[in-house]
């Protein structure tokens, strides 16, 4: 596992628990690793969206527009997040010819840590959405609150994921020697 120092191994292991095949951006598989992370995030967002879709369908047919409205808002937020992830920058291609520098261990550590945190955060959102759907049958008065928390978590995760562009931006250009 070239380029993955020992101190980031816990993060790599943490991601590997969720993503089989994640190897911490080793040489030769960096693009695939990046796609793998993004696809996992999209998959998690879809899970959130599916939960919200169920809540929306039920509440809309019950004519409970308050909860249906917040569930729809959460679904829209998921759609925005999905588009952000799908159209996010990948980086780290053609390092030899395009003037892009090879990532240092420090930069890879930051990227892996960011992946780990992003996936952890979106999983929290998935758990919240699951709780929201579950609460419909147990504690209906809390459903709206949990949906709002899910939306808030998705929004936070979206902002956090967009910061990935800043992490990748450090990899785009070779450093000029002074």
């Amino acid at each position: 596992m070239v380029g993955t120092p020992v101190d980031i191994m816990p993060y790599v292991r943490g991601v590997q628990l969720i993503l089989t095949g994640y190897n911490g951006y080793t040489k030769g598989s960096r693009i695939e690793t990046d796609k793998l992370v993004r696809e996992e995030i999209v998959r998690a967002i879809n899970r959130v969206r599916n939960h919200m879709k169920n809540i929306f369908d039920i509440k809309f047919k019950e004519n409970n527009m308050d909860i249906a409205r917040v569930a729809k808002q959460c679904m829209e937020e998921c759609d925005y997040f999905t588009e952000d992830v799908k159209k996010a920058v990948g980086g780290m291609e053609h390092a030899f010819l395009s003037g892009q520098s090879s990532p240092s261990n420090r930069e890879l550590k930051k990227l892996i840590q960011h992946d780990h945190d992003s996936i952890t955060m979106i999983i929290e959102a998935v758990n919240l959405s699951n709780s929201a759907e579950f609460s419909m049958n147990t504690e209906e008065d809390k459903t709206k609150m949990i949906i709002s928390q899910t939306t808030q978590k998705i929004t936070s995760c979206r902002g956090f994921f967009n910061a990935r562009a800043n992490v990748l931006a450090g990899l785009k250009q070779k450093r000029k020697k002074k």
């Binding site: 929306f56 809309f60 829209e76 799908k86």
Partner: protein
């Protein structure tokens, strides 16, 4: 190696390609952009779904031809290309509100396709041509959208005004989200947004026409009012000008009259001054006359007083003379009597004779002067002298 283009028209959404039909000497490759994906169906099984990659050796080429001939490659290889990004679909509808207003318009559906849902397009391609365009999607969706979304939503509106409310749009979107899920899910689409755009209804057109006519009438009224105001303004200006001219004429005339009056006043004042001068002259003359008369009167009075005084003095002198004569006579008589007494001739006859003569003498001395000594007074209160023929004060004759 040549590049294969699966989408040569922006209306194309998905295409099912039979790789076996691509017979070319050079191998074909296709570039999949982030909003494009390709699902591989190999020998009837759904294989990988690729995106953001350069798909090399997808079809054609000598080696693949040789492999086909040798039977070492798959018998059936199909590539299902699809656009995954959000796309807008416009579906025309024609409905009616609960109030009977006819409503025409378009429903906008914004759909996207998840990568893992791309194989679901096989449901469509099983019964349709291998190219899916916007038009075909609209044709597939329009009936269900009309029946499950548009008609119920329009039926919940009493009039065309409710069509413009936010509630209707929200309900439309939510209804579409709920009711269209089945068919969209079967086709692999995900609904992102839905909203209606309705053309003006007949009632709205009529209302619009009414408003336009009202606006036109209001505009005409405003123009009329403005013209009337302009005329009134012009009238006011004309009246004001006429009044001003009249005032100027009056002022001019008044000025001339004033000048004439001032001229006449000046003449009058001159005349008045002349009259005053004459009056003063006459008054002076009169005063002089009166002073002269007064001086004469005073002179007369003074002269009268002087005459009186001289008269009194003369009377006093006369009385003194008379007294002296009487005293001297008395003294003489006394001496005569004394001489008579000394001589013895003083008899009663002599005395008697003496008294007679003395009485006669006194009567002769005082008798003529008796009337002159009695003071007389005029009816005006003026003391009159005996020798005056008339009163010097009132001019009344003295009898």
């Amino acid at each position: 190696m040549s590049s294969y283009k699966w989408r040569d028209n922006p209306e194309i959404i998905a295409r099912l390609v039979n790789a076996g039909n691509i017979q070319s000497f050079s191998t074909q490759e296709v570039l999949l952009k982030p909003n494009e994906a390709c699902a591989m169906i190999i020998d009837g099984r759904i294989g990988d779904i690729l995106t953001e990659t350069l798909l090399k050796n997808m079809a054609g080429g000598f080696s693949r031809w040789v492999g086909d001939k040798l039977g070492v490659t798959a018998n059936d290889r199909r590539l299902l290309f699809a656009m995954t990004g959000p796309m807008d679909y416009w579906i025309k509808f024609d409905g009616q509100t609960a109030g009977g207003d006819s409503v025409k318009g378009f429903a906008n559906l914004r759909l996207k396709m998840e990568i893992e849902n791309i194989p679901k397009l096989l449901n469509y391609f099983a019964n349709n041509a291998p190219i899916m365009t916007r038009e075909t999607v609209v044709n597939v969706l329009s009936n269900e959208l009309n029946a499950r979304v548009i008609v119920p939503c329009l039926a919940s509106c009493q009039n065309s005004a409710e069509l413009r409310g936010a509630n209707f749009i929200e309900r439309f979107e939510m209804t579409a989200e709920s009711e269209m899920r089945n068919i969209l899910s079967n086709l692999g689409f995900t609904l992102l947004k839905a909203f209606p755009i309705t053309s003006p209804t007949d009632m709205e057109s009529m209302e619009k026409h009414r408003r336009a006519m009202e606006a036109k009438l209001a505009t005409d009224q405003i123009n009329t009012d403005a013209e009337l105001a302009e005329i009134a303004q012009s009238e006011l200006v004309t009246i004001a000008r006429i009044e001003m001219e009249a005032n100027i004429a009056k002022a001019t005339a008044r000025g001339e009259v004033t000048a004439q009056l001032e001229y006449e006043l000046k003449d009058l004042r001159a005349q008045e001054e002349q009259w005053n001068a004459e009056l003063r002259f006459e008054k002076g003359k009169m005063d002089l006359r009166m002073e002269e008369a007064d001086a004469k009167s005073r002179r007369a009075m003074e002269m009268f007083a002087e005459v009186q005084e001289r008269k009194q003095q003369r009377l006093q002198n006369e009385r003194d003379f008379m007294q002296q004569r009487m005293d001297s006579q008395n003294e003489i008589q006394t001496k005569i009597m004394e001489m008579a007494a000394e001589t013895g001739n003083l008899t009663p006859e002599v005395v008697q004779e003496f008294l007679k003569q003395q009485t006669a003498q006194k009567a002769a001395d005082t008798g003529a002067k008796q009337d002159m000594s009695i003071p007389r007074t005029c009816t005006c209160g003026m003391n009159l002298a005996a020798e005056w023929k008339a009163c010097p004060n009132c001019g009344a004759p003295i009898s």
